[in-house]
């Protein structure tokens, strides 16, 4: 059998998705059995010019993790798209923008101000900021352009498959590898996870959902058997795609929404907001105001992994 050519790339990401590939442990040998890895910056010494030298569509599958937050990442996404037959948005950042897309609640100048001036470890009285071009005596130095808006991979190039998760769980990765090996991939555009919400596969006991107070995870030791929402903890289960194996739930922690919206939902945050406001059982205006106050950061909580692909995408500029 001719081996598949596999590329892995990381864009705006923490590196956890690459580690998740290694978390397949001895199964990594199965991956290497069916595929030659032709590009993997975190683990192997291939450079961009090696990819540029490849023929178009010569890579069979590219697992692209991370969001697109600057011009270099956009170029890499376009380059790998051109060289790959199948592009897979791997992990929540590539699928929905992920944690980096929370930066869409601010913008470039605010981020630069914080990172290069305000941060306590900085001494920058001359207000030196990174520039795309800097003239030095040896010539001109170039840096990628930092964008105001973090984008998901699918907002930059066409993507065939989405594998969500922060990071994608090992069994899901192996499912993808199996599908590749046996050439049994679903139709393009598919998300490789469950169709229904996490609640659908959650093992906890669910009774009537009526709460009158919200607890943040550090304020309460939750009953490990009962639905977390019913205990007043914001669990993103009702607005989040299942297929993760309820990893966080098993650890007695609420779902944070890394699998993105379930099939048919446009906006994960709006759905979660709707669900949470429904079960918060107060009628008096004062108490409604208390509820609003208790939910400290709705945008950051409900769109934690998906600001880029949410309907509004970013804070208005």
């Amino acid at each position: 059998m001719v081996k598949l050519k596999l590329a892995l790339y990381w864009a705006a990401t923490c590196g956890g998705c690459d580690v998740a590939v290694l978390d397949t442990n001895e199964k990594i040998l199965d991956i290497v059995n069916i595929a030659d890895i032709v590009f993997w910056p975190i683990a192997m010494d291939f450079k961009r010019h090696h990819v540029e030298a490849m023929e178009d569509k010569s890579i069979d599958v590219c697992l692209f993790n991370g969001a697109v937050r600057n011009s270099e990442l956009e170029d890499m996404a376009k380059l790998l798209r051109a060289k790959s037959k199948t592009m897979v948005a791997f992990g929540s950042c590539a699928c929905f923008g992920g944690i980096p897309s929370l930066a869409n609640l601010t913008n470039r100048s605010e981020i630069f101000e914080r990172a290069y001036v305000e941060a306590p470890s900085n001494v920058n009285p001359e207000r030196v900021f990174p520039k795309t071009k800097t003239a030095v005596s040896e010539g001109e130095l170039e840096l990628p352009e930092f964008y105001d808006t973090v984008l998901a991979l699918g907002q930059v190039v066409p993507v065939e498959y989405f594998v969500p998760g922060c990071p994608p769980p090992v069994d899901l990765i192996l499912k993808v590898v199996d599908a590749l090996a046996t050439n049994q991939l679903p139709p393009p555009g598919a998300t490789i996870a469950a169709e229904k919400t996490l609640c659908d596969e959650c093992p906890r006991k669910k009774e009537e959902k009526r709460i009158t107070k919200i607890y943040r995870p550090h304020e309460i030791i939750p009953d490990p058997e009962r639905c977390l929402l019913e205990q007043g903890i914001i669990c993103m289960g009702p607005a989040t795609r299942g297929g993760c194996g309820a990893r966080c739930i098993e650890a007695n922690m609420p779902c944070r929404g890394c699998f993105g919206p379930p099939a048919g939902v446009y906006d994960q945050g709006a759905k979660m907001l709707s669900a949470l406001a429904s079960i918060y059982d107060v009628k008096d205006e004062k108490e409604i105001a208390r509820m609003v106050e208790e939910i400290i950061d709705p945008a950051g909580t409900f769109y934690r992994f998906g600001m880029s692909t949410s309907l509004l995408q970013r804070k208005r500029m």
Binding site: D267, A270, K283, I288, P298, S308, Q313, K315
Partner: protein, 138 residues
């Protein structure tokens, strides 16, 4: 320059606010022509997604009309709406969207003139805020 005419989407509940709008019509009450009405069975049917989608799709303001507390045909749909809209306004605020673009009003079937007044008020307010500028980077 032509004066800015805002587009207002109004989600009105079948039992109270829509009937209130009907009454405004049959009573020949004049009100701002900026409103586009979408009838829903209950204000509780108004998913926050609808409001966000309306803004994204070209609305400059959104009105949700429901029954007064205690009058909901479905007992407590309007309480849910009250909670959702309150929380939605906080969320939209974080995204840089003015609170006055989203209105929640209780309009009964007998309040035709109140309906007309609300439409005039929201139109004037949104006119003041100006067009809802959408981001075009996707």
């Amino acid at each position: 320059m032509e004066e800015f005419e805002p587009k207002i989407i109004a989600f009105l509940c079948n039992w109270c606010s829509y009937a209130g709008a009907d009454l405004a019509g049959t009573s020949r009450i004049q009100y701002a022509p900026n409103v586009r009405v979408i009838r829903v069975m209950c204000s509780g049917r108004v998913d926050p997604t609808f409001v966000i989608k309306a803004l994204r799709a070209g609305a400059d303001g959104v009105l949700i009309g429901g029954c007064h507390f205690g009058d909901c045909h479905y007992i407590e749909g309007n309480y849910k709406t009250a909670r959702r809209v309150a929380l939605l306004k906080k969320l939209l605020g974080q995204l840089g969207i003015e609170e006055e673009r989203v209105w929640l009003e209780w309009i009964s079937a007998a309040e035709g003139s109140h309906f007309a007044q609300v439409i005039n008020d929201i139109t004037a307010k949104v006119k003041e805020l100006g067009p809802f500028a959408r981001q075009n980077n996707s």
